[in-house]
Amino acid sequence: MNRTDMKDAMAQDVDVATRPQLATSGEILRVRDLSVQIADKTVLDDVTLDIGASERVGLIGASGSGKSMLVKAITGLLPRAARVGGDITMGGTRLQAGDDAAFAALRGRYVGLVFQNPGAALNPVLSVEQQVCLPLRLHYDLDAGERRDRVMTMLERVGLPASLAGSYPHELSGGQQQRVGIATALITSPRLIIADEPTTALDAIVQRSIIDLLVSLVESAGASMLFITHDFAVLSRATTRCMVIDRGRIIETGDTAALLHDPRQPQTRLLVNAAKTLTLNVNPEHHHA
Protein backbone atom coordinates (compact mmCIF):
# COMPACT_ATOMS: atom_id res chain seq x y z
CA MET A 1 0.00 0.00 0.00
CA ASN A 2 1.52 3.31 -0.99
CA ARG A 3 1.39 6.38 1.21
CA THR A 4 -1.59 7.97 -0.56
CA ASP A 5 -3.63 4.79 -0.37
CA MET A 6 -2.81 4.50 3.28
CA LYS A 7 -3.88 8.10 3.87
CA ASP A 8 -7.18 7.53 2.07
CA ALA A 9 -7.94 4.33 3.93
CA MET A 10 -7.19 5.85 7.26
CA ALA A 11 -9.14 9.01 6.62
CA GLN A 12 -12.36 7.02 6.29
CA ASP A 13 -12.57 6.41 9.99
CA VAL A 14 -10.04 8.40 11.86
CA ASP A 15 -11.12 7.17 15.27
CA VAL A 16 -9.83 3.82 14.19
CA ALA A 17 -7.53 5.11 11.54
CA THR A 18 -5.53 7.25 13.92
CA ARG A 19 -4.33 3.97 15.34
CA PRO A 20 -1.95 2.82 12.58
CA GLN A 21 -2.13 -0.89 11.91
CA LEU A 22 1.43 -1.41 10.84
CA ALA A 23 2.82 -3.37 13.74
CA THR A 24 2.78 -7.12 13.74
CA SER A 25 2.51 -9.55 16.63
CA GLY A 26 2.66 -6.96 19.37
CA GLU A 27 6.13 -5.77 18.41
CA ILE A 28 6.20 -1.99 18.31
CA LEU A 29 9.90 -1.26 18.07
CA ARG A 30 12.81 -3.57 17.43
CA VAL A 31 16.38 -2.30 17.41
CA ARG A 32 19.35 -4.56 16.70
CA ASP A 33 23.05 -3.72 16.94
CA LEU A 34 22.47 -0.03 16.40
CA SER A 35 25.69 1.94 16.15
CA VAL A 36 26.09 5.62 15.41
CA GLN A 37 29.25 7.53 14.67
CA ILE A 38 29.46 11.28 14.34
CA ALA A 39 32.76 12.79 13.24
CA ASP A 40 34.58 9.53 14.06
CA LYS A 41 33.17 9.53 17.58
CA THR A 42 31.02 6.56 18.53
CA VAL A 43 27.88 7.87 20.23
CA LEU A 44 25.89 4.61 20.17
CA ASP A 45 27.51 1.20 20.27
CA ASP A 46 25.63 -2.04 19.47
CA VAL A 47 22.37 -0.99 21.07
CA THR A 48 19.69 -3.67 21.04
CA LEU A 49 16.21 -3.14 22.46
CA ASP A 50 12.59 -4.16 22.00
CA ILE A 51 9.39 -2.44 22.97
CA GLY A 52 6.20 -4.46 22.94
CA ALA A 53 2.59 -3.38 22.73
CA SER A 54 1.38 -1.23 25.64
CA GLU A 55 4.79 -1.36 27.32
CA ARG A 56 6.14 1.68 29.13
CA VAL A 57 9.91 1.48 28.98
CA GLY A 58 12.34 3.88 30.57
CA LEU A 59 15.78 4.80 29.30
CA ILE A 60 18.03 6.33 31.91
CA GLY A 61 21.60 7.52 31.82
CA ALA A 62 23.85 10.34 32.82
CA SER A 63 24.18 13.46 30.70
CA GLY A 64 26.06 12.67 27.49
CA SER A 65 25.43 8.92 27.80
CA GLY A 66 23.63 8.80 24.43
CA LYS A 67 19.96 8.88 25.47
CA SER A 68 18.90 11.61 23.08
CA MET A 69 21.09 10.22 20.30
CA LEU A 70 19.26 6.92 20.62
CA VAL A 71 15.92 8.70 20.24
CA LYS A 72 17.20 10.57 17.22
CA ALA A 73 18.56 7.39 15.66
CA ILE A 74 15.29 5.53 16.21
CA THR A 75 13.26 8.34 14.66
CA GLY A 76 15.64 9.33 11.85
CA LEU A 77 16.46 12.73 13.32
CA LEU A 78 20.22 12.30 13.47
CA PRO A 79 22.45 14.94 11.86
CA ARG A 80 23.26 14.27 8.22
CA ALA A 81 26.90 13.65 9.07
CA ALA A 82 26.02 10.66 11.27
CA ARG A 83 27.02 7.17 10.13
CA VAL A 84 24.50 4.58 11.23
CA GLY A 85 24.76 0.80 11.36
CA GLY A 86 22.36 -1.90 12.56
CA ASP A 87 18.65 -2.55 12.14
CA ILE A 88 15.59 -0.59 13.19
CA THR A 89 12.17 -2.09 12.68
CA MET A 90 9.15 -0.02 13.58
CA GLY A 91 5.59 -1.17 13.04
CA GLY A 92 6.85 -4.03 10.92
CA THR A 93 8.74 -1.64 8.63
CA ARG A 94 12.48 -2.13 8.46
CA LEU A 95 14.00 1.31 8.27
CA GLN A 96 17.17 2.02 6.35
CA ALA A 97 19.43 4.74 7.70
CA GLY A 98 19.14 7.78 5.45
CA ASP A 99 15.72 6.83 4.09
CA ASP A 100 14.20 10.07 5.28
CA ALA A 101 10.87 9.54 3.52
CA ALA A 102 10.33 6.16 5.24
CA PHE A 103 11.07 7.63 8.66
CA ALA A 104 8.86 10.67 7.92
CA ALA A 105 5.96 8.39 6.99
CA LEU A 106 6.09 6.88 10.49
CA ARG A 107 6.94 10.00 12.48
CA GLY A 108 3.85 11.79 13.70
CA ARG A 109 1.64 8.85 12.77
CA TYR A 110 3.09 5.65 14.19
CA VAL A 111 5.48 7.29 16.61
CA GLY A 112 4.86 10.56 18.43
CA LEU A 113 7.67 12.56 20.03
CA VAL A 114 7.47 14.72 23.12
CA PHE A 115 10.41 17.10 23.32
CA GLN A 116 12.46 18.19 26.29
CA ASN A 117 12.00 21.91 25.80
CA PRO A 118 8.63 22.70 24.24
CA GLY A 119 9.40 26.42 24.29
CA ALA A 120 12.15 25.80 21.73
CA ALA A 121 10.42 22.98 19.85
CA LEU A 122 7.00 24.48 19.17
CA ASN A 123 6.89 26.52 16.00
CA PRO A 124 6.67 30.15 17.17
CA VAL A 125 4.65 31.25 14.15
CA LEU A 126 1.97 28.57 14.49
CA SER A 127 -0.99 28.92 16.82
CA VAL A 128 -1.75 26.09 19.25
CA GLU A 129 -4.44 24.80 16.91
CA GLN A 130 -2.17 24.88 13.86
CA GLN A 131 0.64 23.18 15.78
CA VAL A 132 -1.49 20.34 17.16
CA CYS A 133 -3.15 19.93 13.78
CA LEU A 134 0.15 19.55 11.89
CA PRO A 135 0.50 15.72 12.10
CA LEU A 136 -3.13 15.37 10.98
CA ARG A 137 -2.53 17.64 8.01
CA LEU A 138 0.61 15.77 7.05
CA HIS A 139 -0.77 12.25 7.34
CA TYR A 140 -4.54 12.34 6.86
CA ASP A 141 -6.91 13.84 4.30
CA LEU A 142 -9.48 15.32 6.64
CA ASP A 143 -11.59 18.40 6.03
CA ALA A 144 -10.91 21.52 8.05
CA GLY A 145 -13.95 21.07 10.30
CA GLU A 146 -13.01 17.54 11.23
CA ARG A 147 -9.43 18.51 11.92
CA ARG A 148 -10.60 21.32 14.17
CA ASP A 149 -12.95 18.99 16.08
CA ARG A 150 -10.11 16.55 16.68
CA VAL A 151 -7.77 19.29 17.84
CA MET A 152 -10.37 20.67 20.26
CA THR A 153 -11.00 17.20 21.69
CA MET A 154 -7.28 16.66 22.09
CA LEU A 155 -6.79 20.02 23.80
CA GLU A 156 -9.52 19.09 26.25
CA ARG A 157 -7.85 15.74 26.95
CA VAL A 158 -4.55 17.38 27.78
CA GLY A 159 -6.28 19.89 30.02
CA LEU A 160 -6.04 22.98 27.86
CA PRO A 161 -9.08 25.25 27.43
CA ALA A 162 -10.39 25.72 23.89
CA SER A 163 -9.78 29.45 24.30
CA LEU A 164 -6.03 28.77 23.94
CA ALA A 165 -6.42 27.33 20.44
CA GLY A 166 -5.59 30.66 18.82
CA SER A 167 -2.70 31.46 21.16
CA TYR A 168 0.95 31.29 20.17
CA PRO A 169 3.57 29.34 22.14
CA HIS A 170 5.16 32.47 23.64
CA GLU A 171 1.82 33.33 25.21
CA LEU A 172 1.72 30.07 27.19
CA SER A 173 3.40 28.95 30.40
CA GLY A 174 6.00 26.15 30.30
CA GLY A 175 3.47 23.59 31.49
CA GLN A 176 0.91 24.69 28.93
CA GLN A 177 3.56 24.51 26.19
CA GLN A 178 4.39 20.93 27.18
CA ARG A 179 0.68 20.04 27.12
CA VAL A 180 0.59 21.38 23.54
CA GLY A 181 3.64 19.21 22.79
CA ILE A 182 1.87 16.16 24.22
CA ALA A 183 -1.32 16.96 22.29
CA THR A 184 0.73 17.23 19.08
CA ALA A 185 2.41 13.89 19.76
CA LEU A 186 -0.88 12.14 20.53
CA ILE A 187 -3.27 13.72 18.02
CA THR A 188 -2.90 10.83 15.56
CA SER A 189 -3.10 8.16 18.31
CA PRO A 190 0.33 6.74 17.53
CA ARG A 191 1.34 3.29 18.69
CA LEU A 192 4.54 4.52 20.28
CA ILE A 193 5.23 7.68 22.25
CA ILE A 194 8.83 8.68 22.77
CA ALA A 195 9.23 11.28 25.50
CA ASP A 196 12.72 12.74 25.65
CA GLU A 197 13.11 14.19 29.15
CA PRO A 198 9.74 15.92 28.82
CA THR A 199 9.78 17.44 32.29
CA THR A 200 13.35 18.66 32.59
CA ALA A 201 12.44 22.24 31.71
CA LEU A 202 9.55 22.35 34.20
CA ASP A 203 9.30 22.95 37.92
CA ALA A 204 8.60 20.06 40.33
CA ILE A 205 4.83 20.53 40.65
CA VAL A 206 4.28 20.89 36.92
CA GLN A 207 6.64 17.93 36.31
CA ARG A 208 4.38 15.64 38.29
CA SER A 209 1.17 16.75 36.59
CA ILE A 210 2.75 16.40 33.14
CA ILE A 211 4.05 12.89 33.87
CA ASP A 212 0.68 11.82 35.25
CA LEU A 213 -1.04 13.26 32.20
CA LEU A 214 1.34 11.55 29.79
CA VAL A 215 1.08 8.18 31.52
CA SER A 216 -2.72 8.33 31.73
CA LEU A 217 -3.05 9.33 28.06
CA VAL A 218 -0.64 6.63 26.92
CA GLU A 219 -2.40 4.03 29.05
CA SER A 220 -5.88 5.02 27.92
CA ALA A 221 -4.76 4.94 24.31
CA GLY A 222 -3.13 1.54 24.78
CA ALA A 223 0.06 2.90 23.27
CA SER A 224 3.63 2.03 24.17
CA MET A 225 6.07 4.54 25.55
CA LEU A 226 9.81 5.02 25.62
CA PHE A 227 10.52 7.51 28.38
CA ILE A 228 13.96 9.08 28.51
CA THR A 229 15.17 10.68 31.70
CA HIS A 230 18.12 11.02 34.02
CA ASP A 231 15.83 11.11 37.07
CA PHE A 232 14.99 7.82 38.81
CA ALA A 233 12.04 9.37 40.67
CA VAL A 234 10.45 10.29 37.35
CA LEU A 235 11.35 6.89 35.91
CA SER A 236 9.62 4.92 38.65
CA ARG A 237 6.48 7.00 38.21
CA ALA A 238 6.30 6.69 34.45
CA THR A 239 7.64 3.25 33.51
CA THR A 240 7.49 -0.42 34.38
CA ARG A 241 10.67 -1.59 32.67
CA CYS A 242 13.85 0.30 32.15
CA MET A 243 17.23 0.28 30.46
CA VAL A 244 20.39 1.99 31.62
CA ILE A 245 22.63 3.54 28.99
CA ASP A 246 26.24 4.50 29.53
CA ARG A 247 28.69 5.80 26.95
CA GLY A 248 26.40 4.74 24.13
CA ARG A 249 25.83 1.16 25.34
CA ILE A 250 22.85 -0.38 27.12
CA ILE A 251 24.49 -1.75 30.27
CA GLU A 252 21.51 -2.99 32.25
CA THR A 253 17.85 -3.71 31.72
CA GLY A 254 15.08 -4.90 33.99
CA ASP A 255 11.97 -4.14 35.97
CA THR A 256 12.11 -0.48 37.05
CA ALA A 257 11.35 -1.12 40.73
CA ALA A 258 13.81 -4.02 40.93
CA LEU A 259 16.51 -2.04 39.21
CA LEU A 260 16.02 0.81 41.65
CA HIS A 261 16.39 -1.48 44.65
CA ASP A 262 19.06 -3.79 43.36
CA PRO A 263 21.21 -2.20 40.68
CA ARG A 264 23.84 -4.60 39.38
CA GLN A 265 26.14 -2.50 37.26
CA PRO A 266 28.47 0.01 38.98
CA GLN A 267 27.27 2.85 36.75
CA THR A 268 23.64 2.06 37.58
CA ARG A 269 24.48 1.97 41.29
CA LEU A 270 26.11 5.37 40.93
CA LEU A 271 22.98 6.79 39.31
CA VAL A 272 20.66 5.23 41.89
CA ASN A 273 22.81 6.31 44.83
CA ALA A 274 23.08 9.82 43.45
CA ALA A 275 19.30 9.99 43.13
CA LYS A 276 18.81 8.66 46.67
CA THR A 277 21.37 11.07 48.14
CA LEU A 278 19.72 13.96 46.38
CA THR A 279 16.29 12.89 47.66
CA LEU A 280 17.62 12.52 51.24
CA ASN A 281 19.34 15.89 51.08
CA VAL A 282 16.31 17.75 49.90
CA ASN A 283 13.73 15.91 52.03
CA PRO A 284 13.37 17.71 55.38
CA GLU A 285 11.69 14.68 57.00
CA HIS A 286 14.86 12.67 56.46
CA HIS A 287 16.92 15.47 57.97
CA HIS A 288 14.82 15.44 61.15
CA ALA A 289 15.04 11.69 61.34
Binding site: A121, P135, L160, Y168, G181
Partner: protein, 327 residues
Protein backbone atom coordinates in the same frame (compact mmCIF):
# COMPACT_ATOMS: atom_id res chain seq x y z
CA UNK B 1 -2.32 48.58 15.47
CA UNK B 2 -0.90 50.49 18.43
CA UNK B 3 2.60 49.58 17.22
CA UNK B 4 1.79 50.82 13.71
CA UNK B 5 0.56 54.18 15.00
CA UNK B 6 3.56 54.48 17.30
CA UNK B 7 5.96 53.59 14.50
CA UNK B 8 4.34 56.09 12.10
CA UNK B 9 4.65 58.84 14.70
CA UNK B 10 8.36 58.05 15.08
CA UNK B 11 8.73 57.97 11.31
CA UNK B 12 7.26 61.50 11.08
CA UNK B 13 9.55 62.68 13.90
CA UNK B 14 12.57 61.13 12.17
CA UNK B 15 11.63 62.83 8.89
CA UNK B 16 11.43 66.17 10.65
CA UNK B 17 14.84 65.61 12.28
CA UNK B 18 16.23 64.54 8.95
CA UNK B 19 14.96 67.67 7.22
CA UNK B 20 16.64 69.81 9.89
CA UNK B 21 19.87 67.89 9.51
CA UNK B 22 19.96 68.22 5.71
CA UNK B 23 19.04 71.89 5.85
CA UNK B 24 21.65 72.68 8.52
CA UNK B 25 24.40 70.60 6.86
CA UNK B 26 24.07 72.46 3.56
CA UNK B 27 24.12 75.84 5.34
CA UNK B 28 27.15 74.98 7.48
CA UNK B 29 29.26 73.91 4.51
CA UNK B 30 31.85 76.59 3.58
CA UNK B 31 31.38 78.72 0.46
CA UNK B 32 28.65 81.02 -0.76
CA UNK B 33 26.40 79.22 -3.20
CA UNK B 34 25.22 82.48 -4.82
CA UNK B 35 28.84 83.63 -5.44
CA UNK B 36 29.76 80.28 -6.95
CA UNK B 37 26.71 80.34 -9.21
CA UNK B 38 27.33 83.94 -10.26
CA UNK B 39 30.89 83.15 -11.35
CA UNK B 40 34.25 84.65 -10.46
CA UNK B 41 33.78 87.99 -12.22
CA UNK B 42 30.24 88.66 -11.06
CA UNK B 43 29.35 92.00 -9.52
CA UNK B 44 28.10 92.12 -5.92
CA UNK B 45 24.73 93.25 -7.29
CA UNK B 46 24.44 90.13 -9.42
CA UNK B 47 25.40 87.92 -6.48
CA UNK B 48 22.80 89.69 -4.34
CA UNK B 49 20.21 89.21 -7.06
CA UNK B 50 20.92 85.50 -7.23
CA UNK B 51 20.84 85.27 -3.45
CA UNK B 52 17.48 87.04 -3.41
CA UNK B 53 16.12 84.85 -6.23
CA UNK B 54 17.10 81.73 -4.30
CA UNK B 55 15.68 83.11 -1.07
CA UNK B 56 19.08 82.93 0.59
CA UNK B 57 18.81 86.50 1.89
CA UNK B 58 16.05 85.49 4.28
CA UNK B 59 16.65 84.22 7.82
CA UNK B 60 17.42 80.52 8.26
CA UNK B 61 14.12 79.77 10.08
CA UNK B 62 12.24 81.45 7.23
CA UNK B 63 14.18 79.49 4.61
CA UNK B 64 13.57 76.26 6.49
CA UNK B 65 9.86 76.95 6.94
CA UNK B 66 9.50 77.80 3.23
CA UNK B 67 11.32 74.64 2.18
CA UNK B 68 9.40 72.40 4.58
CA UNK B 69 6.06 73.95 3.60
CA UNK B 70 6.93 73.39 -0.04
CA UNK B 71 7.91 69.76 0.64
CA UNK B 72 4.59 69.11 2.35
CA UNK B 73 2.81 70.40 -0.76
CA UNK B 74 5.08 68.49 -3.13
CA UNK B 75 6.86 71.68 -4.18
CA UNK B 76 10.61 71.27 -3.87
CA UNK B 77 11.50 74.43 -5.71
CA UNK B 78 13.13 75.08 -9.07
CA UNK B 79 16.65 74.04 -9.99
CA UNK B 80 18.86 77.08 -10.34
CA UNK B 81 20.82 75.36 -13.12
CA UNK B 82 18.29 73.54 -15.28
CA UNK B 83 15.30 75.76 -14.55
CA UNK B 84 13.13 72.66 -14.15
CA UNK B 85 11.19 71.94 -10.99
CA UNK B 86 13.19 69.74 -8.66
CA UNK B 87 10.22 67.34 -8.35
CA UNK B 88 10.09 66.70 -12.10
CA UNK B 89 13.87 66.40 -12.25
CA UNK B 90 13.87 63.77 -9.48
CA UNK B 91 10.85 62.04 -11.05
CA UNK B 92 12.45 61.64 -14.46
CA UNK B 93 15.69 60.24 -13.02
CA UNK B 94 13.94 58.05 -10.44
CA UNK B 95 11.92 56.55 -13.30
CA UNK B 96 15.16 54.88 -14.35
CA UNK B 97 16.81 54.16 -11.01
CA UNK B 98 13.82 52.76 -9.08
CA UNK B 99 12.81 50.21 -11.75
CA UNK B 100 16.48 49.28 -12.08
CA UNK B 101 16.73 48.66 -8.32
CA UNK B 102 13.48 46.69 -8.22
CA UNK B 103 14.63 44.55 -11.15
CA UNK B 104 18.04 44.07 -9.54
CA UNK B 105 16.43 42.99 -6.28
CA UNK B 106 14.18 40.55 -8.14
CA UNK B 107 17.25 39.06 -9.84
CA UNK B 108 19.08 38.93 -6.49
CA UNK B 109 16.20 37.25 -4.64
CA UNK B 110 15.31 34.82 -7.40
CA UNK B 111 18.92 33.67 -7.59
CA UNK B 112 19.98 34.08 -3.97
CA UNK B 113 17.19 32.31 -2.11
CA UNK B 114 16.84 29.13 -4.20
CA UNK B 115 20.60 28.72 -4.55
CA UNK B 116 21.11 29.48 -0.86
CA UNK B 117 18.59 26.76 -0.01
CA UNK B 118 20.33 24.36 -2.34
CA UNK B 119 23.73 25.26 -0.85
CA UNK B 120 22.38 24.29 2.57
CA UNK B 121 20.24 21.29 1.64
CA UNK B 122 21.87 19.54 -1.33
CA UNK B 123 22.38 15.88 -0.58
CA UNK B 124 25.92 15.81 -1.86
CA UNK B 125 28.52 17.59 0.29
CA UNK B 126 30.46 18.32 -2.91
CA UNK B 127 27.48 20.16 -4.45
CA UNK B 128 27.02 22.13 -1.22
CA UNK B 129 30.68 23.06 -1.25
CA UNK B 130 30.65 24.15 -4.93
CA UNK B 131 27.55 26.31 -4.36
CA UNK B 132 29.10 27.88 -1.29
CA UNK B 133 32.22 28.73 -3.30
CA UNK B 134 30.05 30.28 -6.02
CA UNK B 135 28.40 32.47 -3.37
CA UNK B 136 31.74 33.66 -2.00
CA UNK B 137 33.26 34.32 -5.43
CA UNK B 138 30.04 35.97 -6.69
CA UNK B 139 30.00 38.34 -3.74
CA UNK B 140 33.64 39.29 -4.30
CA UNK B 141 33.18 40.31 -7.94
CA UNK B 142 33.17 44.13 -8.31
CA UNK B 143 30.00 45.31 -10.05
CA UNK B 144 32.07 47.37 -12.48
CA UNK B 145 34.07 44.36 -13.63
CA UNK B 146 31.02 42.11 -13.74
CA UNK B 147 29.16 44.70 -15.80
CA UNK B 148 32.04 45.05 -18.25
CA UNK B 149 32.11 41.30 -18.63
CA UNK B 150 28.38 41.22 -19.36
CA UNK B 151 28.76 44.01 -21.93
CA UNK B 152 31.57 42.09 -23.62
CA UNK B 153 29.40 38.99 -23.70
CA UNK B 154 25.92 40.32 -24.46
CA UNK B 155 26.25 44.03 -25.33
CA UNK B 156 24.70 44.82 -28.67
CA UNK B 157 27.42 45.76 -31.17
CA UNK B 158 30.34 44.89 -28.88
CA UNK B 159 29.53 41.55 -27.27
CA UNK B 160 30.23 38.01 -28.39
CA UNK B 161 26.50 37.31 -28.32
CA UNK B 162 25.35 40.89 -28.83
CA UNK B 163 21.66 40.66 -28.12
CA UNK B 164 21.02 43.33 -25.48
CA UNK B 165 21.51 47.10 -25.43
CA UNK B 166 24.29 48.13 -23.12
CA UNK B 167 24.34 51.91 -23.35
CA UNK B 168 21.73 54.54 -22.54
CA UNK B 169 18.01 54.68 -21.95
CA UNK B 170 15.44 55.23 -24.74
CA UNK B 171 14.55 58.89 -25.33
CA UNK B 172 10.86 58.02 -25.13
CA UNK B 173 11.48 56.61 -21.66
CA UNK B 174 8.67 54.42 -20.32
CA UNK B 175 6.43 55.49 -23.21
CA UNK B 176 8.38 52.79 -25.04
CA UNK B 177 8.09 50.20 -22.24
CA UNK B 178 9.67 47.27 -24.05
CA UNK B 179 12.76 49.19 -25.10
CA UNK B 180 13.01 50.76 -21.63
CA UNK B 181 12.79 47.39 -19.92
CA UNK B 182 15.30 45.76 -22.25
CA UNK B 183 17.78 48.59 -21.66
CA UNK B 184 17.69 47.78 -17.93
CA UNK B 185 18.28 44.03 -18.24
CA UNK B 186 22.09 44.03 -18.31
CA UNK B 187 22.43 46.66 -15.55
CA UNK B 188 19.89 44.76 -13.40
CA UNK B 189 21.72 41.47 -13.88
CA UNK B 190 25.03 43.17 -13.03
CA UNK B 191 23.70 44.57 -9.76
CA UNK B 192 21.47 41.58 -9.02
CA UNK B 193 24.19 38.95 -9.41
CA UNK B 194 26.47 40.61 -6.87
CA UNK B 195 23.62 41.25 -4.42
CA UNK B 196 22.24 37.75 -5.09
CA UNK B 197 25.53 36.19 -3.99
CA UNK B 198 25.15 37.98 -0.65
CA UNK B 199 21.54 36.88 -0.25
CA UNK B 200 22.60 33.34 -1.16
CA UNK B 201 25.18 33.34 1.64
CA UNK B 202 22.64 34.68 4.15
CA UNK B 203 20.01 32.16 3.10
CA UNK B 204 22.49 29.31 3.42
CA UNK B 205 23.69 30.51 6.82
CA UNK B 206 20.12 30.97 8.10
CA UNK B 207 19.09 27.49 7.02
CA UNK B 208 22.21 25.83 8.39
CA UNK B 209 21.64 27.55 11.73
CA UNK B 210 18.08 26.15 11.74
CA UNK B 211 19.07 22.60 10.79
CA UNK B 212 19.74 21.35 14.30
CA UNK B 213 17.04 23.45 15.95
CA UNK B 214 14.30 21.84 18.03
CA UNK B 215 11.66 23.57 15.90
CA UNK B 216 12.84 21.83 12.74
CA UNK B 217 13.14 18.54 14.68
CA UNK B 218 9.56 19.01 15.91
CA UNK B 219 8.33 19.58 12.34
CA UNK B 220 10.14 16.40 11.31
CA UNK B 221 8.64 14.60 14.31
CA UNK B 222 5.20 15.58 13.02
CA UNK B 223 5.93 13.82 9.73
CA UNK B 224 7.94 16.14 7.50
CA UNK B 225 11.09 15.02 5.75
CA UNK B 226 14.24 16.98 6.55
CA UNK B 227 13.98 18.94 3.29
CA UNK B 228 10.31 19.76 3.86
CA UNK B 229 10.99 20.84 7.44
CA UNK B 230 13.90 23.04 6.39
CA UNK B 231 11.99 24.69 3.55
CA UNK B 232 8.61 25.00 5.24
CA UNK B 233 9.73 25.74 8.79
CA UNK B 234 13.42 26.69 8.68
CA UNK B 235 13.02 29.10 5.77
CA UNK B 236 9.81 30.53 7.22
CA UNK B 237 11.51 31.20 10.55
CA UNK B 238 14.43 32.78 8.71
CA UNK B 239 12.08 35.06 6.78
CA UNK B 240 12.46 37.97 9.19
CA UNK B 241 16.24 37.93 8.81
CA UNK B 242 15.98 37.60 5.05
CA UNK B 243 13.57 40.54 4.90
CA UNK B 244 16.14 42.61 6.81
CA UNK B 245 18.86 41.56 4.40
CA UNK B 246 16.63 42.29 1.38
CA UNK B 247 15.79 45.71 2.86
CA UNK B 248 19.44 46.53 3.44
CA UNK B 249 20.34 45.29 -0.04
CA UNK B 250 17.63 47.48 -1.52
CA UNK B 251 18.89 50.50 0.42
CA UNK B 252 22.51 49.84 -0.57
CA UNK B 253 21.46 49.58 -4.20
CA UNK B 254 20.19 53.17 -4.19
CA UNK B 255 23.75 54.37 -3.91
CA UNK B 256 25.51 51.24 -5.16
CA UNK B 257 23.71 51.37 -8.46
CA UNK B 258 25.35 54.70 -9.34
CA UNK B 259 28.46 52.91 -10.61
CA UNK B 260 26.37 50.61 -12.77
CA UNK B 261 24.31 53.54 -14.08
CA UNK B 262 27.50 55.24 -15.04
CA UNK B 263 28.87 52.11 -16.74
CA UNK B 264 25.69 51.59 -18.75
CA UNK B 265 25.25 55.32 -19.38
CA UNK B 266 21.88 55.52 -17.67
CA UNK B 267 20.73 58.98 -16.53
CA UNK B 268 19.53 57.81 -13.12
CA UNK B 269 19.47 59.38 -9.68
CA UNK B 270 23.19 58.84 -9.19
CA UNK B 271 24.12 60.87 -12.26
CA UNK B 272 21.63 63.57 -11.25
CA UNK B 273 23.00 63.87 -7.71
CA UNK B 274 26.63 63.99 -8.85
CA UNK B 275 25.72 66.69 -11.42
CA UNK B 276 23.77 68.83 -8.97
CA UNK B 277 26.41 68.61 -6.23
CA UNK B 278 29.08 69.54 -8.78
CA UNK B 279 26.98 72.54 -9.91
CA UNK B 280 26.31 73.64 -6.31
CA UNK B 281 22.58 73.55 -7.07
CA UNK B 282 21.60 74.03 -3.44
CA UNK B 283 17.84 73.96 -3.95
CA UNK B 284 17.97 70.69 -5.87
CA UNK B 285 20.62 68.97 -3.71
CA UNK B 286 18.73 69.86 -0.53
CA UNK B 287 15.53 68.12 -1.64
CA UNK B 288 17.36 65.25 -3.34
CA UNK B 289 19.38 64.44 -0.23
CA UNK B 290 16.27 64.67 1.93
CA UNK B 291 14.28 62.36 -0.34
CA UNK B 292 17.16 59.89 -0.55
CA UNK B 293 17.49 59.73 3.23
CA UNK B 294 13.69 59.63 3.66
CA UNK B 295 13.65 56.63 1.33
CA UNK B 296 16.11 54.83 3.64
CA UNK B 297 13.86 55.64 6.61
CA UNK B 298 10.82 54.38 4.71
CA UNK B 299 12.61 51.12 3.93
CA UNK B 300 13.42 50.72 7.63
CA UNK B 301 9.77 51.30 8.49
CA UNK B 302 8.59 48.73 5.93
CA UNK B 303 11.13 46.15 7.16
CA UNK B 304 9.98 46.71 10.75
CA UNK B 305 6.33 46.31 9.80
CA UNK B 306 7.12 43.15 7.85
CA UNK B 307 8.95 41.74 10.88
CA UNK B 308 5.82 42.30 12.93
CA UNK B 309 3.67 40.67 10.29
CA UNK B 310 6.00 37.65 10.06
CA UNK B 311 6.66 37.01 13.75
CA UNK B 312 3.77 36.83 16.21
CA UNK B 313 6.26 37.08 19.09
CA UNK B 314 6.72 40.74 18.21
CA UNK B 315 2.99 41.35 18.52
CA UNK B 316 1.26 43.16 21.34
CA UNK B 317 -0.04 40.00 23.05
CA UNK B 318 2.95 38.77 25.00
CA UNK B 319 1.48 37.86 28.39
CA UNK B 320 0.65 34.26 29.28
CA UNK B 321 -2.97 33.58 28.59
CA UNK B 322 -5.11 31.17 30.54
CA UNK B 323 -3.18 31.55 33.77
CA UNK B 324 -0.26 29.61 35.19
CA UNK B 325 0.01 25.86 35.10
CA UNK B 326 -0.27 25.58 38.86
CA UNK B 327 -3.59 27.35 39.00
Amino acid sequence: MRYLIWRLIWFAVALLGLSLLVFAALRILPGDVASVMAGTNATPARVAAIRSRMGLDRSYPQQYADWLGGLLHGNMGVSAISGRTVASQIGSHAAITLPLIVLSLLVALSIGIPMGCQAALAGSPRVRSVLHTIAIVGGAVPALWGGLLLIMLFGRGVGLIGILPSQGFPDAGWHAPRAALISLILPAITTGLVAGAGIMRYTRACLISMEDSDTVAMAMACGMTRRQAMLRVGLRLSAAQLVSVAGLTFAQMITGVMVVESLFNLPGLGAMLINDVGNRDLIAVQSELFLLAAFFLLLGLLVDLMHHALDPRLGERTQHVGGEEHA
